[in-house]
């Protein structure tokens, strides 16, 4: 079975129909980028994958386990699915290191020193070793997002979800975050990335999904989707963003 399998996912907010039947598979170590106009349901789709939003109907399997069953332990699922948010959402009252070590200690039961070792090696990986004791408020946007990625990785998840991780950043900081994500992709992490960075999608993605009006309008390799889009809506979207 694939790492992520989604069968006929529907999501309503009240009467508003946001997802209208999404089915897709993401294989282990695959990098999938999701593109599409704002309001098309990209975030909602991503947030269903770790149940930050509750799907209205449909099934989602993560690493072979159905997560859309009411009896499932949501917290156990989320331990395996890391998420990185557009606005970082670091804990402002904790140092960078503490942001990273909190969940491994509380959830995985690591000792403080084990967690600190893991935290420091992750900070090194994202190039922020010297910022361990700094509060998020004293970090730039790009640095905060790199800490947020390290925080998610500290749980050693099987999957990483990114919801427009560079959209809130000043242009000069986008590169440093994308580089961390590229490294992660090279290491074989399974990733689903909602992004407007078409360059990143073209270079790193194994597959690109174009979402519009709550469905996947078109999907393919970056080469197929960017150079030879079949769908009229894909063409018109790409003509605006490329």
């Amino acid at each position: 079975m694939a790492m992520i399998e989604v069968h006929d996912l529907h999501k309503y907010f009240g009467d508003l129909r946001v997802l209208k039947g999404i089915s897709t598979k993401v294989e282990s170590s695959e990098v999938v980028c999701v593109i599409g106009p704002s309001g098309s349901g990209k975030s909602t789709y991503l947030r269903c994958l770790n149940l930050l939003e509750e799907p209205t109907t449909g099934q989602i399997y993560i690493d072979g386990e159905v997560i859309t069953d009411p009896s499932v332990n949501i917290n156990k699922i989320r331990e395996e699915v890391g998420m990185v948010f557009q606005r970082f959402n670091l804990f402002p009252h904790m140092t960078a290191l503490k942001n990273i070590t909190l969940a491994p200690i509380r959830v995985r039961g690591l000792s403080e020193s084990e967690a600190n070792d893991r935290g420091m090696s992750l900070l090194r990986k994202v190039g922020l070793e010297e910022k361990a004791d700094v509060l998020p408020g004293a970090l730039s946007g790009g640095q905060q997002q790199r800490v947020a990625i390290a925080r998610a990785l500290a749980m050693q998840p099987k999957i990483m979800l990114f919801d427009e991780p560079t959209s809130a950043l000043d242009p000069e900081m986008v590169g440093e975050v994308l580089n961390v994500m590229k490294d992660l992709a090279k290491e074989g992490m399974t990733m689903v990335v909602v992004t407007h960075e078409m360059g990143f999608a073209r270079e790193v993605a194994d597959r690109v999904l174009f979402m519009d009006e709550g469905i996947i309008m078109e999907q393919g390799t970056p080469e197929e989707l960017f150079s030879n889009p079949q769908n009229e809506r894909t063409r018109s979207f790409l003509s605006k963003v490329l």
């Binding site: 770790n50 998420m83 804990f91 969940a103 509380r106």
Partner: protein, 229 residues
Amino acid sequence: MDVLQSYIGHIINVMPSLLQGAVITIEVTSLSVFFGTIIGIFMALGKLSTKKILRIPSLIYIDFIRGTPLLVQILLFYYGIPGLISSVTGEPLRIDPILAGVVVCSINSGAYVAEIVRAGIQSIEKGQKEAARSLGMTHSQTMKDIILPQAFRRVIPPMGNEFIVLLKDSSLLAVIGVPELLKSGQLYVATTFASFPVYIGVALVYLVMTLTISRLVHYSERRLGVGND
């Protein structure tokens, strides 16, 4: 001139008992805000709970207390409830006025603190909870480690305000004979009829206390860096 001198004389004479009363006022207020804070945190969590069995009692408690005057609550608790109990048991029941005062003021304060804490919790951006939950943390871990510590700093100013409000309102306990600041003044007026200087003195002692507290709150706000998260 004579009038002024006699006023000053009265103020000097009454001041020791006013200060004794002020100590009672501060004690009753501090205890009440302390217990009120404990009650208030649980009531706030109850009101925010998705479970009806926790939410509905909190809602009733908060609405009842905030929707009725403190003076009525004091009279109900000090006269009404003991009266009801003794009419059932046939035994006369008297409660210590200070104890009654602390209990009523704690219950009263709890409802206001509940609203302060609820607002503090709800003021924390949704992304904080989502980040914690996405890491696999449980609801209670998220509350304890992420939401409440951040809400705590935001509730310091309104909690300081609540302390000041209760400090002033505790003067209502004079009606059940709690020997607090206002009551001390009233006792002196009863024998001397010097109402103007005594009540001016009472007012000034309240003013000194409230101004001091708001300074302290302001200072601790800055120490804890409230507002610069």
